[in-house]
């Protein structure tokens, strides 16, 4: 997946800027797609490759900030680099708060834009990896039986097999067997890895009401 060719999207209403950005980005071997308006970008089909969006703030019709909001609403995670004709502080603050990677003022140095693009793509790539790992963990967690999920909660809470058995009214041998099963299913190489996976999945460690006061 990480081997996929990243793609840079450019939305700018000024034709010469748009074309120049296309030439600059292709000159460093990246793939680029340019759009004159936000609507044109939204209606174009996008692949699953990592990438970023270079977006002019002031656009006719749907503005750059409008597009940012629109993408957030559709859970699209494309990192955005904003370009503006003049340093508009309130607008840049708004854009950064809404998750923009970078806010560049025209005229910008070409290298700064390329650095920002690379940084954005790295971020997107990492985020994508993160999302894929989480999806895999979820897929593995889904294969656990209810009892195995309980035992996992007990294990990540740091309880001994004996304590877990006492909590759930079973034998220590049964807990030991179920524990072996769930470690196998979660493909956890160590207890530490299992705990980390549980954390990423948002599984709350078991809280034994009998032994600790609430």
């Amino acid at each position: 997946m990480s081997a996929e060719i990243p793609i840079v999207f450019v939305v700018d209403d000024d034709r010469s800027v748009r074309d120049a950005l296309r030439r600059l980005i292709t000159s460093v071997g990246m793939t680029v797609e340019v759009f004159p308006t936000a609507q044109a970008f939204l209606s174009a089909p996008r692949g699953d490759a990592p990438g970023c969006l270079v977006l002019d703030v002031r656009l006719p019709g749907l503005s750059g900030l409008d597009l940012q909001r629109e993408l957030a609403n559709t859970h699209a995670t494309l990192p955005i680099i904003f370009l503006t004709g003049h340093g508009d502080i309130p607008m840049s603050v708004q854009a950064m708060k809404a998750g923009a990677i970078e806010f560049l003022t025209k005229p910008f140095r070409g290298q700064d834009l390329l650095d920002a693009i690379r940084h954005a793509i790295d971020r997107d790539r990492a985020a994508r990896m993160e999302r894929q790992e989480l999806a895999e963990l979820n897929r593995r967690y889904d294969t656990l039986t209810p009892r195995e999920r309980n035992v996992m909660a007990g294990v990540v809470a740091g309880l001994l097999n004996k304590q877990i058995a006492a909590e759930f009214g079973t034998t220590e041998a049964t807990v030991k067997e179920q524990r072996g099963q769930l470690v196998l299913k979660m493909r956890a190489g160590s207890l530490a890895e299992l705990v980390r996976s549980a954390g990423r999945l948002g599984i709350a460690p078991y809280d034994s009401g009998g032994t600790r006061p609430k």
Binding site: A20, R23, G85, G110
Partner: protein
């Protein structure tokens, strides 16, 4: 009054006498008429003055008894001497001569025993007259009546009865008259007192009237005096004005006299200076042998002026009103205006200059103040222009930044391509072509802005207003487009050329368009529309060019209408309120008009009318 009973008895005597009545009815009826007449006498006499009564009694006696003489003497009821009067038949002239007649009748009138028949001589003829004498009042104290006739039968018993009756009536009348007189007198006294009071009142009234009259008179006099005073004041003012004028004239003469004369030699150094120069605190002696530019203090500041002046001198040309700055002895700044003409000798050899100078410091300072004021105004106008452009900064920055950003990106791309082992020259060429194009684009923007910001106003020149509109539209284009505003133009092709400052007119149009764009920015999208119309309007003095900028924006209220063009009036949060004010002054300096109208539905229209060139 106490005498009345006695007299009454006396008066009643005759009726007691036997009166022979006439036998015929005609005489009887005549006598009855006489009696009735006698009864009527008091009524006839009533109200008459007491002094008139004896006369009335004689009248009655004479007519009724056909007497040749009748005389009466009666005491005046008022108390003065007795009244005597007589009547002689056929001699009316003797009426007023009662006393003479009384003298003739002396016996009859003085005899205390009256009421007897006697014979008297007729005062007119001396003929003997048969007469009766009857006393009036008590024992004749009030008077006597004598009646006489030539007839021998006089007095018949009836005539005696009539006589008695008449005299009785006369007595009553006289008593009444006396009474009336007394009463009248008493009344008169009272009336006199009253009259005095009335007189006093009247006097007071008169006094008041007099006072009033005098007040009126005085007032009239005062107002006359006032008028005189006024005219005198006016006259005095005129005199003062005349005096001032003459003083001014003298001052002018004096000041003219304070001008000083000078002479310079062939080397332009002063050879002679008149004494008036000392008034400026400058010692003429100190200036001898030096040139004008040796003591002028503005040679370094204004070298061009001095170069021209020296050139004039070198050419031996006359000069007039050359102004330069110097300092008086106490160091204060003095401006001197000088005029001179070259002097030549008989052989035409240049000897130097002769001329006159004057102190013009006051005038120059006033001029400087005025110029500073003008500069301040011009600077304010310029600042406003810049501020307006400041509001345009976003748009302008965008206009310049776009090509710059493109140039930067393309140049970077070129470097990347050229760094490759086998450079993609086609791509490099494409990028370089784009760079050239964007460079031109940025330069064009800069040029436009530079003209707009130009500091020195250009002189009025023939301008094509359509061209001015076309200059401005690209500047506001991005601002308008960004807010989704539609701009329509309707420009007639035959707009008359006008005389004007193109830059200033651009400024006005720019201002109107930006205002319009701002007015529609926050209204529903379908109303975000501007129309620029240019039309030709024939007027009395020829064709005018009229440009209207129409918007469907927020418009202005009735309350705002009269203030729109006021300086520092603004409805915008960040506005200076100078835009429309300056726009109007610019248009008015072009002999044009700038005004605003509210549109019937939405928004406002600003109209700009300029007279066509002639």
């Amino acid at each position: 009054m106490e005498t009345t009973p006695e007299r009454s008895s006396s008066a009643l005597e005759p009726p007691n006498q036997v009166v022979a009545l006439p036998g015929d009815t005609a005489t009887l009826s005549s006598q009855l008429r006489d009696l009735i007449a006698i009864l009527a006498l008091p009524a006839v006499w009533s109200g008459r003055d007491a002094a008139d009564i004896p006369e009335a009694v004689l009248e009655a006696l004479s007519s009724m008894l056909r007497l040749d003489l009748a005389y009466i003497r009666a005491a005046d009821p008022a108390g003065s001497g007795p009244v005597e009067t007589a009547r002689v038949q056929g001699r009316p002239d003797l009426g007023s001569r009662g006393r003479e007649i009384a003298g003739l009748l002396a016996d009859g009138t003085t005899d205390p025993d009256a009421n007897q028949a006697l014979v008297l001589p007729d005062p007119a003829t001396g003929e003997p007259l048969r007469a009766t004498r009857t006393a009036l009042g008590l024992a004749g104290h009030t008077g006597v009546v004598i009646a006489a006739s030539r007839r021998s039968s006089f007095p018949t018993p009836f005539e005696r009865f009539l006589l008695q009756s008449i005299i009785m009536q006369a007595e009553v009348a006289l008593r009444n008259a006396a009474l009336m007189t007394a009463l009248h007198h008493a009344l008169h006294c009272e009336q006199g007192a009253r009259a005095d009071a009335e007189a006093a009142y009247r006097a007071k009234d008169l006094l008041n009237e007099e006072l009033e009259r005098r007040v009126v008179e005085r007032t009239r006099q005062l107002s006359l005096v006032n008028q005189e005073l006024r005219s005198e004041i006016a006259e005095r003012k005129r005199a003062e004005a005349a005096l001032r004028e003459s003083e001014q004239r003298f001052r002018d003469y004096a000041e003219t006299a304070s001008d000083w004369l000078w002479e310079t030699g062939p080397d332009h150094s002063f050879t002679r200076l008149s004494e008036q120069l000392t008034r400026l605190g400058i010692d003429p002696a100190g200036r001898i042998g030096v040139t004008r530019w040796d003591f002028a203090t503005d040679v370094e500041e204004e070298p061009a002026k001095w170069r021209r002046h020296v050139a004039t001198l070198e050419a031996n040309q006359p000069f007039r009103g050359f102004v330069y700055r110097t300092a008086s002895a106490d160091g204060s700044v003095v401006y001197i205006s000088t005029s001179g003409k070259p002097v030549f000798d008989a052989d035409g050899r240049f000897l130097g200059y002769r001329g006159v100078s004057s102190d013009v410091s006051a005038a120059v300072r006033a001029d400087q103040v005025e110029r500073a004021l003008h500069l301040a105004q011009a600077e304010l106008a310029r600042v406003t222009r810049v501020t307006t452009l400041g509001e345009l900064a976003a748009s302008i920055a965008h206009e310049i930044n776009q090509p710059l950003a493109a140039i930067g990106a393309d140049a970077n791309a070129c470097l990347h391509w050229l760094a490759a082992d086998r450079p993609d020259l086609d791509s490099v060429r494409e990028a370089l072509t784009a760079i050239v194009k964007d460079g031109d684009r940025a330069a064009a923007v800069i040029t436009r802005i530079r003209t707009l910001l130009a500091r020195s106003p250009l002189a009025h020149e023939p301008c094509d207003l359509t061209g001015v509109i076309r200059d401005v539209l690209p500047l506001v284009g991005p601002e308008i487009g960004r807010h989704g505003i539609r701009l329509d133009t309707s420009l007639v092709p035959d707009l008359p050329p006008i005389m004007g400052d193109r830059i200033q007119l651009q400024q006005v149009l720019l201002n109107l368009l930006l205002n319009a764009a701002e007015a529609v920015r926050d209204v529903p999208p379908e109303r975000r529309r501007l129309v620029v119309r240019a039309t030709l309007e024939p007027r009395e003095d020829g064709p005018w060019a009229v440009v209207a900028v129409e918007d469907a924006g927020v418009g202005f209220g009735e309350a705002q209408a009269p203030r729109l063009f006021e300086a520092f009036y603004t409805t915008k949060p960040g506005g200076l309120g100078m835009g429309l004010s300056i726009s109007r002054s610019i248009i008015e300096s072009h002999r044009g008009r700038l005004w605003a109208t509210a549109n019937p539905d939405h928004g406002a229209t600003f109209h700009l009318a300029l007279p066509g060139m002639r």
